[in-house]
């Protein structure tokens, strides 16, 4: 890696952290509605994988997707605009926090039903396999909580039966909402579930971005060489609650503190200084830059217009199709006009 690449990777992680912290504030101000699931503490996972994936590799993830949007290459302005439900958001304000996507960047969302995107990922890989895009890998992210639902098992099984190029990544943040892994999963290590499908698997540390990079690059090379699907369990921790409405009665402050001492941004920062890649001053500049990027994103999002009522009826179908009913108010309005 060149020096600039290290700095970019560091800044990306700080951008994600600042984005999430600002999102929490905006949520408390009532400017972001619905559910908001923060990625704080897990930044090394998406940044690490994002830094080794190739443009032809597809990414699909669950609802904790803001970090992934950034690592996939989306402009923080567009992410923030979507959080605020504005027209300049990636989904024009129709998807919100849980539905970030940019297919031009091969980022396929942002899916809110736990585990439902897992069989869809199998299909994305089938699409590449069928069309002989032999170099492409589908990277499918999900939480530990998603591995107890049927979708996971059907999706993994079929990916192995058809030997499809999928990197299955469990971001094990140790809680499915408020239920600890050992209270919900019959096996303590999620990677063991891959054994049932004869699938290679590993469990790795996800708080060190360099480790994530190295391990993921190795596994992706195996998949690209025709090795078939692989399950990677990446150990991580979310510092915040499951979503903004989480009272966090299920864990104590000491536990959170223990993990904060291993903060992925702090770990990477120490590494960069120790290895002589960058000084604290240089990294502080990157922090300031990240801060500026997010402030500009907030300004952009606040200034962006609402989608407007015409967009209500756009995108129901790809083909021109009659709309059956526009709601009582609009139907009567159109009759009056």
């Amino acid at each position: 890696m060149e020096k600039q690449e290290y700095l970019d990777l560091y800044r990306e992680m700080v951008v994600i952290r600042r984005l999430e912290e600002r999102a929490a504030e905006l949520y408390q101000q009532g400017k972001i509605g619905g559910f908001l699931h923060l990625y704080i503490g897990q930044e090394a996972v998406c940044a690490g994988i994002g830094s080794v994936r190739q443009p032809q590799d597809r990414i699909i993830t669950a609802y904790r997707d803001h970090g992934w949007a950034i690592s996939a290459g989306m402009d923080p302005k567009v992410v923030m605009a979507e959080l605020l439900g504005k027209k300049d958001g990636c989904s024009m304000g129709k998807g919100g926090s849980m539905h970030m996507a940019d297919t031009s960047l091969n980022f396929w969302g942002g899916h809110a039903i736990v585990g439902a995107h897992i069989p869809i990922a199998t299909g994305l890989a089938l699409g590449d396999h069928y069309q002989e895009n032999d170099d492409a890998i589908t990277i499918c992210m999900f939480g530990d909580g998603a591995t107890n639902i049927g979708f996971f098992h059907e999706g993994l099984n079929l990916s192995k039966v058809w030997n499809l190029p999928v990197l299955w990544v469990c971001e094990n943040n140790q809680y499915g909402m408020g239920t600890a892994v050992e209270r919900a999963s019959a096996v303590s290590e999620i990677r063991q579930k891959a054994e049932g499908y004869g699938m290679p698997n590993d469990r790795i540390d996800g708080m060190d971005v360099m480790n994530v990079r190295e391990q993921v690059a190795r596994v992706m090379e195996e998949i690209r060489n025709g090795g078939g699907p692989h399950l990677l369990e990446i150990m991580t921790y979310r510092y915040r609650g499951h979503s903004m409405g989480d009272p966090e009665r299920y864990r104590n402050k000491e536990e959170v503190k223990k993990w904060e001492d291993e903060d992925p941004i702090g770990v990477f920062r120490k590494y960069l200084v120790k290895e002589g890649v960058a000084s604290d001053e240089v990294l502080d500049e990157q922090d300031d830059l990240a801060e500026k990027i997010i402030e500009e994103a907030v300004e952009f999002a606040e200034a962006s217009p609402n989608p407007g009522k015409d967009l209500l009826f756009e995108h129901i179908y790809a083909e021109e199709t009659s709309i059956e009913y526009r709601g009582y108010r609009l139907e009567n309005e159109s009759e009056e006009n």
């Binding site: 990636c90 989904s91 024009m92 129709k94 998807g95 539905h99 996507a101 940019d102 297919t103 396929w108 969302g109 942002g110 899916h111 039903i113 439902a116 897992i118 069989p119 869809i120 990922a121 199998t122 299909g123 994305l124 890989a125 089938l126 699409g127 590449d128 069928y130 069309q131 049927g150 979708f151 059907e154 999706g155 099984n157 079929l158 039966v161 967009l311 756009e314 995108h315 129901i316 179908y317 790809a318 083909e319 199709t321 009659s322 059956e324």
Partner: protein
């Protein structure tokens, strides 16, 4: 024109579209080596090979979920659910993913996907395998729901569904597979999605039906003709989007209607169609709209009881007589 069964018409539509477009492929339980549990895809595996005729595990979530994913990459999958009763297992992927993704991501995701499924009772398969839950699926904006009543429509509508860029649930009635009819020849002979069609002209009463009930309605119309009553039969063909124009045009002439469906009456197709008749043509109503539907019981195995619960030609005939005679 060629005379053929509904099964042959559906099979021919699939075959022609697969010949025409490399992106079209089939996947589902026993569609390949077995040749399809209803023999619709017999011979496909040998001709098109395992890449394009894909046998899957008995795992509906994986069948529909992976078809959605493949469609997102630009392929045109035709995913087969052996029966619509198994669609409940894949409900999330049908109504929560396929019907939503295009809208929720503001048009970024395109799903040129067809889900084929057989619906309906009458084959002594008992309560879990005999349902006609078509209305449930027609409830969701974002999904297109099609269900033909004649071989010609089956072929033309299935071809349109495969060529459509939207997710289409294509519902076939297994007891119609042996029904014969004239089918126009030509690879590009299509029937439009979302358009109802008058299958028989008449001026005394409008019978609205779809799928198997179209055949029953046509038979009832023949019986009514012997009594001097000319019934018009309007075939909905698509349940979403629902094209009411031919229904309303007909009703404004006949002023009387019967709506026939094989599924349960409560919250059903008949409820929707009759409500729309009242909304759109109240001034033309000469008699209350009658609904013919399945008795509200889980269908029993016993043949006599099963037939008692299912709507019959006779029911349509009697309902039509009642609305005509008042």
């Amino acid at each position: 024109m060629a005379r053929m069964t509904m099964r042959e018409a559906i099979s021919q539509a699939l075959w022609e579209e697969m010949e025409r477009d490399e992106r079209v492929f089939i996947q589902g339980e026993e569609v390949g080596v077995w040749g399809g549990t209803y023999a619709v895809t017999k011979g496909f595996y040998d001709h098109f090979g395992e890449k394009r005729v894909r046998d899957t595990p008995i795992a509906e979530t994986a069948i529909i979920g992976s078809a959605i994913g493949a469609a997102l990459t630009g392929l045109r999958p035709v995913a087969e659910l052996m029966t619509i009763n198994f669609a409940f297992v894949a409900m999330d992927h049908i109504v929560n993913e396929a019907a939503k993704l295009h809208y929720m991501f503001a048009g970024q995701f395109k799903l040129p996907l067809v889900i084929r499924a057989t619906s309906g009772g009458g084959r002594q398969l008992a309560a879990t395998h005999s349902q006609t839950p078509d209305a449930i699926f027609a409830h969701f904006p974002g999904l297109k729901v099609v269900s033909p009543g004649t071989p010609a429509d089956a072929k033309g509508l299935l071809k349109s569904a495969i060529r459509s860029d939207d997710p289409v649930l294509f519902i076939e009635n297994a007891t119609l597979y042996q029904t014969r009819g004239e089918v126009p020849e030509g690879v590009d002979v299509l029937e439009p999605l979302g358009k109802s069609k008058v299958q028989r002209e008449g001026d005394a009463v409008t019978i609205v039906a779809y799928s198997k009930m179209v055949q029953a309605a046509l038979q009832a119309a023949d019986m009514l003709a012997e009594d001097g009553i000319e019934a018009e039969v309007v075939d909905l063909r698509s349940l979403r989007p629902l094209d009411m124009d031919p229904v309303i045009e007909s009703f404004k002439r006949t002023n009387r209607a019967v709506v026939a469906e094989e599924g349960w009456r409560s919250y059903g197709i008949g409820a929707e169609v009759s409500a729309r008749i009242y909304e759109l043509a109240f001034d033309y109503v000469d008699a209350p709209v009658k609904r013919v539907a399945q008795a509200e019981v889980p269908l029993p195995y016993n043949a006599e009881l099963e037939q008692l619960a299912l709507p019959q030609t006779e029911d349509i005939y009697r309902a039509a007589k009642e609305v005509v005679n008042g």
